[in-house]
Symmetry: D2
Subunit: 304 residues, 4 copies
């Protein structure tokens, strides 16, 4: 496929649509990003790469990092991970706290904030140096050793993260956090601050399109079966309150972040990462969603 | 593939697992079903069919019928259907009423009870003789003219359907039901009472695996794009509070009913219907779920 | 006390405050009421009466009637009434349905709609001719035989009462409604339609200020202990989501209705009924609340 | 009245009832209390005192302290206190967090934990040395300078107070906490740890029965009007999810704590404090509730 031509076409089509999205502004590091940047990168399981615009520019991947920490925990504690978090879609954001209370401290899935915090708690127990180990894992997926945390972002997240602190305390009150709260939240706020480019994200997710094996290194990250399950989980839970919308319109498993990035996986075919900082009301990239919808429509490459 | 051999293998493996499920017992017609019946039927888009055990025995399809009414409404009112219902997974069953209240009478998706009732209201406005027209539609999908409502089941549903009456009244209070409540509920309780066999269900769903066209008649039911979207919707919303679990373990879009039936769709390949009346705690067929999990594992045929 | 002078004083003070309230408009019979009418009537346990303005004009007492039906049920089934309804304040109106669901069909108290419907169900089981018997009871409390239902209001309530139908169906699904729903709701919609004047309401409530005995007839309605308990219940639950506000500012037990009426009881002293149709956002009479606040402030006659 | 004789009578009557309550056990200091201690003390506004059993033994007053901090804040910031907390009963405990979320960080009333934490935040802004000043205030109400915090209890509360930390963080996320969270919670956990005897509590509350003036010192704490309002607030909100029950059965405004203490106020007459460590399921003293119910029944001294 001439993906780059398609990228250009869609990009120009979308130019005519006013971007009514708004950049995340709860921390200065996100608020100050140039909102009109745009990048997209596709990598096939055969190793072909297709880029457009700011595909190599790094941005704050935010919640996309929850896939990396989930995979790392899942590869270590296997099915016992489901004693600590559910795997069902979360319903309305409004319900986040009452749901935690109703389910006695067990988050609905590992991709909502509460679930990602539990995953950090699992990694805090499992890893010798959690923050270093997580970073090494992501670097090994991409082969890029300069990928790093942004300490300013981590600090800003911590300073404004009162709702996340409410979640972790509520879970701790139910016994579903085993380690010290500050230590767990330090990991959590750091993973939110990781910076990667579309190209790096696309490559880092490639094992999920390749039955669990990193193509360029041959390293197995997850079994074929657990890889499928991870993709299924992204399909139902990867977009907060918009998982149904994304599934409906794009038709691929994926994960978004409030930095404006989205990564989607076409099993056995490719991964695609897109970045556009302005967000829709649900907190997903406004143009990123439209771009991927157009992309799977034009290429007829949805899983459904 | 020698699907029948695989069916036998899985069936015998599952024999060793105690079926801890329980038959639905809120109406006598379901409570009195022989709980140990089992059937499975697979139809490929090329027209090959594979059967095992009670594949031709009819049972109460219950909520599986919500796919037929949704498709019929979607094919008529197109995207304006989303003015009346959302398309996101529903979260916990506990929240059903509060969610309707929070979302001011708009159900989360067309496959929860509230959403299916709204779809019946749309069909009541759109169709000349809703009950007859729905039945004709299902018959035309299968070519079997003996498919019918079970009036005893419809009556029992009505007599015990207080919670569904609560839902329709709440939605009416928000203006999201346009027709007379009793008339809408009469349609709703009837569609729940439709009886079909695994073979008939598998054939009726085949257009969803075939880009919207009924293979044996060539009739187009939905556009290719709307077909993909319907499959995506089943993936995220087809199993009540267990959509994530089914997606995770089986990896195909599908829909279940409390009669013990489940239909799953592998786009561009096949549909499979399985029936085992005992239900797990979430109201989905206990052995049916296990059977399909084993089936996609053995055949490595998940969409992920 | 020269209560009439005080009434005049307060009335004129309140004239200078713009009445920002709005008349209930969900049924035409309430929407069409002249919004600027005002009446107040106080009756002491010794039999003295003090009137001002439209004190003898009848209006729709609406939820105030829930006190009469509660008292009638309480006098018959005694403490077993608490098997069917709680006696705690209800929290936010938002929660009405979820609370019913959480408490498995048991309303929080007999003065919220759900609770009053359960009381109607109890009376449907207890009384030979519920609607006639309830009317006779109210007439006997006042000695006025022309007090009656307004059938137009009852019909309008029924036509628009979808949310109340949602409540009764939800409770029926939990087994907390024993009689036919339509029959119970017929009673409920009728009691909401009763019309009385401030004078009649003040006299009808007098037994609650007189240890359970109707002063002018000597008839005992409730024991002294149950009378105190009924007053306590009005104190904590009589004003929907504003029970705390009324208790805080007025300091007397009482009950309001969306017709703009409020009755308050000063145990061992008097009852006072006030009527002003414009309602505040919580559905209680805007000037009625202010009037009673001023009244207990000026007379220093609160129970606290 | 011969209150001491009545105390004895009731005490002996209650001896025949098995105490099915359980001592609070979330911190060792409460779990280790001798569960069968019992004390009661009544002080009239004229200065007469009536004691029985362990009336002079100090215990952990826990949430009873919320009345002291509320009064202190109310006397300083006057009506602007209601910009920070509501004054309505709270509904089910289940709703605590969702209600905070629904009401955007504003607690329902100052006597639930969230509300008391907001009051601590107000005092942190208002007072030079909050912990010292609060202690001085309570000492001045009783004239007893040995009343103090129990630092072990405060520490245990802090160590186990994850749910309270969830509440404060959620409120901070909505901007309803102005000071540093740790500083506010340090005040909160300390006030929970105050130790007083029934005699001291009864005396400390006496200004609430005396129109706002401490009888023995003549010091005015609150205006007469604000005193009535504080009593009204205790009536509707003083017993968590059992305010209706207490109002219904006892008929006096009051406040309870999980240390097993209850204080009730009969305006213009007396205050009474009772202590019995075993709690009912709602967290209020099992025998304390029964004792006060019997007491107001025998003396016919309820406000209703």
């Amino acid at each position: 496929m001439h993906y780059e031509t398609i990228f250009q076409e869609i990009y120009h089509e979308l130019q005519s649509i006013e971007n009514i999205g708004r950049v995340a502004d709860y921390i200065p590091e996100l608020a100050d990003v140039n909102p009109d940047q745009f990048g997209v990168h596709l990598t096939t399981v055969e190793g072909d790469e297709f880029s457009f615009a700011d595909a190599e520019k790094r941005f704050s991947i935010q919640s996309i990092a929850k896939v990396f920490t989930f995979v790392l925990a899942y590869s270590r504690v296997k099915s016992s991970i489901w004693d600590r978090t559910g795997l069902e879609p979360a319903g309305t954001p409004f319900n986040s706290l009452v749901q935690l209370e109703y389910d006695q401290g067990t988050p609905r899935n590992p991709f909502i904030n509460a679930g990602a915090i539990v995953i950090c708690d699992i990694l805090a127990s499992e890893l010798a140096s959690p923050k270093e180990n997580i970073l090494s894992f992501i670097r090994s997926l991409t082969g890029v050793n300069t990928i790093n945390y942004n300490p300013m972002v981590a600090l800003s997240e911590k300073k404004t993260g009162f709702r996340n602190h409410a979640l972790v305390n509520l879970m701790k009150s139910f016994g579903n956090i085993r380690n010290d709260i500050d230590m767990v939240m330090d990991i959590y706020f750091h993973i939110c601050s990781i910076e990667m480019s579309c190209r790096e994200l696309s490559k880092a997710f490639l094992f999920l399109a390749n039955n669990g094996v990193v193509p360029y290194s041959g390293e197995r990250i997850l079994s074929a079966s657990r890889t499928k399950r991870t993709n299924a989980l992204m399909q139902t839970c990867g977009f907060y309150d918009e998982a149904g919308e994304f599934s409906f319109k794009v038709g691929l498993p994926g994960k978004s972040g409030v930095g404006g990035g989205i990564v989607a996986v076409h099993p056995e075919k490719y991964t695609i990462a897109v970045w556009s900082p302005r967000l829709n009301k649900k907190g997903n990239s406004y143009k990123g969603m439209l771009f991927l919808e157009e992309f799977t429509t034009k290429t007829r490459l949805s899983i459904f």
